[in-house]
């Protein structure tokens, strides 16, 4: 199939970007490729908003004592805003709603997702949720993104509106997940068997299952928080005979699997990038697939490891500790697969590969520190310290966000038909990677020294590490800005046109024009090989 690469350059022809023009044709488009961009712009607003909140917090924390934030309440608002924006509005829709939308139909050889109109509808549900959330920030919520009762049922900030926004956003997430499951089941091209699906599609499938199954639970829980606030329903409020720990159980029943909603697609992205730049078939394809599904399954029975100090019984604490250790197995399987794929490969260190390798490293740090936190005795000490903060930022930023940035660089030529400056992208990567580690390695040490999270002030003994962390945060922020501006600038003004298959990849999405035509493929492809056929004579 790579024989096409030299013949057609698609750019001068009609493609999905120019087959209709005008802002209205974008806002009402049911084309999965355009909806990817709608989501991309929407989530980036909240990435920037949440990022600014983080930088304000880091600036405050650079030195001991109140500096720029005089009011602790404002600090509570900032970390709530950071959490809600980053989790509900940025990372959860992050890869699935953007790259998932763009790639799944292309990778399986379909013309679109199963329900194109539902796809657009789910975007507007997201927009409505975002608007309600933005409106709620007029009387800003100060509960943290977890909305724990009884504080969330008693504080007079606009918790009801904010949790309703989260409910609406969850509905959008459910519809996206449902659409993807049906698409992958029903619309695979002839010859595209389950065991020929690219691992990104498998990862998206596992993600979609979690989105569909876990999200209703948190949705209802948040509605019950509203009922508690509005009518005193007596479910979560202990003064009315309710049980706040029940709320935590229900909340984490979603919010732990949601970690896998965030990071599984990133696993998929890395699984696509590494074989291409190692020129080798993905090592142990079946194990990658099985481990994705295993993570999705085991992820459902580990939620109470967030609650080891919340007064749950010894028995359940032990149970949840042991099953949490189990998650390490499929995750480690993946790491071995990626590393074995690179082993003796012909590796080229292009920007997407740099991000993918950074991902493997950062996620290893996240995974191994996760083992600490799964240990009951250790967790009692580390609970609610900066150690936890550093751990989950390695997971979510080092995993999910780096995965998204890697994917944007990798598929950029396909999405826009342009080639970005490799040098600029690498400089951005250097800032991003160095800044990220400089931010969060000191936070591990701070946590070990006993610095609790969610405080806007601290004793002077912690100051050095906090200052280093703040410098890192600015470098990290600069790296993101640089990377995204580079991509945006290239998309708008870039001159170098992308060929169909710039990386000489064997998977389906690279076999069509860059950017693809409106209905993805000139003719429906017939698949007769595995997705990672590198090293065979035709691709050597």
């Amino acid at each position: 199939m790579s024989a096409h690469a030299s013949t057609a350059h698609g750019n001068d022809e009609v493609n999905y970007l120019n087959w209709k023009t005008g802002i209205w044709s974008w806002l009402t488009s049911t084309d999965h490729k355009r909806i990817c961009f709608l989501y991309l712009f929407a989530i980036m607003i909240f990435f920037i908003g949440g990022g600014i909140a983080a930088l304000i917090m880091r600036t405050e924390l650079a030195f001991a004592g109140p500096t720029i934030i005089k009011d602790p309440h404002l600090y509570n608002i900032l970390f709530t805003m950071h959490g809600v924006f980053m989790i509900f509005l940025f990372v959860v829709p992050g890869i699935p709603a953007t790259l998932g939308n763009f790639l799944i139909p292309l990778m399986i050889g379909a013309k679109d997702v199963a329900f194109p109109r539902l796809n657009l509808f789910s975007f507007y549900v997201y927009v409505i949720g975002a608007l309600i959330g933005g409106y709620a920030m007029l009387n800003p919520v100060d509960t943290g993104w977890t909305f724990y009762a009884p504080y969330s049922t008693t504080t007079n900030t606009s918790v009801s509106l904010m949790v309703f926004a989260a409910f609406v956003l969850g509905f959008s997430s459910i519809l996206t997940g449902l659409n993807f499951i049906v698409t992958i089941h029903q619309l695979r091209a002839p010859g595209m068997t389950w065991m020929r699906l690219p691992v990104f599609v498998w990862a998206s499938y596992a993600t979609a299952v979690i989105q569909t199954v876990a999200t209703p639970v948190v949705g209802m829980t948040l509605l019950l928080v509203i009922a508690e606030r509005a009518f005193g329903a007596g479910i979560f409020d202990p003064t009315k005979g309710g049980d706040p720990v029940l709320m935590e159980h229900l909340f984490w029943f979603y919010s732990h699997p949601v970690v896998y909603i965030m990071v599984l697609p990133a696993f998929g992205v890395v699984g696509e990038i590494i074989p291409v730049f190692s020129r080798k078939p993905l090592f142990g394809y079946k194990m990658v697939v099985i481990s994705s599904m295993a993570i999705a399954a085991v992820g459902f029975i580990v939620w109470a490891h967030h609650m080891f100090v919340a007064g749950i019984s010894d028995f359940s604490a032990k149970f949840f500790s042991i099953v949490t250790f189990l998650v390490a197995i499929p995750t480690a399987v993946k790491v071995f697969n990626w590393v074995s794929t690179m082993y003796k490969g012909s590796i080229s260190f292009k920007t997407p590969m740099l991000y993918a390798m950074a991902f493997v490293f950062l996620f290893m740090v996240a995974g191994t520190t996760g083992i600490y936190l799964a240990m009951l005795g250790v967790d009692v000490y580390y609970h609610d310290t900066y150690f936890v903060v550093a751990h989950f930022h390695y997971t979510i930023q080092g995993g999910a966000v780096i995965g998204l940035i890697a994917a944007l660089h990798f598929w950029f030529p396909k999405m826009t038909g342009k080639i970005y400056s490799e040098r600029m992208a690498r400089i951005a990567f250097a800032f991003l990677f160095f800044g990220f580690n400089l931010t969060f390695i000191p936070q591990f040490i701070l946590g070990m020294d006993g610095m609790p999270r969610r405080y806007y002030d601290y004793p002077v003994q912690y100051q050095t590490l906090h200052t280093i962390s703040t410098i890192g945060a600015y470098l990290n922020g600069f790296g993101y800005t640089f990377a995204l501006v580079n991509l945006l600038w290239t998309a708008k003004f870039g001159k170098v046109k992308a060929p169909r298959n710039p990386y000489n990849s064997t998977s389906l999405e690279w076999q069509t024009a860059s950017p693809p035509v409106h209905e993805n493929f000139e003719t429906t492809p017939v698949v007769d090989h595995d997705p990672y056929n590198y090293g065979t004579h035709s691709h050597a």
Partner: protein
């Protein structure tokens, strides 16, 4: 396995071609799988409240027993019968659609719709009665303070269920009755009727669990 290559080109004018990119059997399979997945999410939505009910009942067993006696058993039983009958007519509507009998669809869905109205009337009678007794909505100010956990869940569960009844009725009207009046269904195309009926069965099924839990067991 389905074949995305075959497309029957009955694309309505003015719509981009990718909207109707599936052949009829694929579209039917996709719609049905999508609906079942959606029903699964609905069940999980209610599962949170069933779970909360179990735990609250464990904490406040005595109060739950007593409070349950304050519900109107006859109204609940009547509503159960109404919904069971409406589910039957909805199922008949699907059979009629499969036979291409559009009038039959209109007739049977209208019966289901009337049952839905009946259910809502009985339910609102119950709610009014509760409000009159001072159990709703601000129960903690009244004589029924110690029933608040039961009543809170009772109103949340039945309230959300009533909302689903309304949504189910809207679906049956919009996707069932309205197109059937234009003779849209045939032995080859009856997906919307089947999916509307599926949704209605779910609404019925949830009530089948709510009734014994709230009215009988308590």
């Amino acid at each position: 396995m389905s074949n995305a290559a075959i497309v029957d080109h009955n694309v309505p004018p003015g719509e981009p071609p990718h909207i109707h990119h599936m052949d009829t059997p694929t579209a039917y399979g996709a719609a049905k799988l999508g609906m079942w997945l959606f029903l699964a999410t609905e069940i999980l939505l209610f599962a949170v409240m069933f779970c909360s009910f179990a735990i609250m009942r464990y904490y406040h067993l005595h109060e739950f027993h007593e409070a349950s006696h304050h519900l109107d058993l006859r109204a609940g039983a009547l509503n159960t019968a109404i919904l069971l009958f409406s589910s039957y007519t909805a199922a008949v509507a699907v059979t009629k659609a499969q036979m291409g009998d559009n009038r039959g669809v209109v007739k049977n869905f209208t019966y289901s719709l009337l049952c839905g109205f009946g259910f809502l009337i009985v339910k609102s009678y119950e709610y009014t009665h509760k409000a009159h007794e001072g159990m709703f909505p601000f129960v903690w100010n009244s004589d029924f303070y110690h029933y608040k956990n039961f009543l809170g869940l009772y109103f949340c569960m039945t309230g959300l269920h009533a909302l689903h009844v309304i949504i189910g009725m809207a679906i049956m009207f919009w996707y069932g009755i309205r197109p059937a009046r234009n003779n849209r269904f045939s032995g080859k195309y009856y997906t919307p009727v089947e999916l509307s009926a599926l949704y209605w069965h779910l609404v019925d099924l949830i009530w089948i669990y709510l009734f014994p839990l709230l009215y009988l067991v308590g």
